[in-house]
Amino acid sequence: MTHPERRLREESAYIAYHFHWAYKDILTLPHAERRAWVREIARINSSISEGR
């Protein structure tokens, strides 16, 4: 009934790496919001890599 531990750590590290938010703050995001920020970072990275 939970999200895989590895995935939780992966997503948290992804946000921390790109946004430099405190780990303890990322941990307190609801799952949907954490995933929304992961998607947003991916979108930004895609735009940059495509030169837009």
Binding site: R9, Y14, A36
Partner: protein, 131 residues
Amino acid sequence: MPENDSPLRTEYDFQLPHGYVDAAGTVHRQGAMRLATARDELSPLIDQRVRENPAYLGVILLSLVITRLGTVSEVHAGVVEQLFAKDLAYLQDLYRRINGLDSSHGAVACPSCGTSFALPGPASGGRLGEA
């Protein structure tokens, strides 16, 4: 910003099918559950009770996210342990639905025989940022 501009709903009311019966015999059915976080799911993993029995993670998790249950002053693991199986199943299902672990993301039914199959959902498969 997240795609959804509406304020994030973080708490959901529920009504238990049976209800929690406390030591005085009072039945508590109305309650509320908040959205879970990564911390909720990661922190119990170091709990000795979970190490000895992984299934206990579900009990601790529910005790963390249930913010209200009738007039029970504190919803701790001991309260969740005493819930009727049907109530426990109801709360686990509610947890899955409000936290994006709903079967609609991770299961499909065969159109021919109706058998359900688990599929990697958004929380378990693919690369980060890819739906």
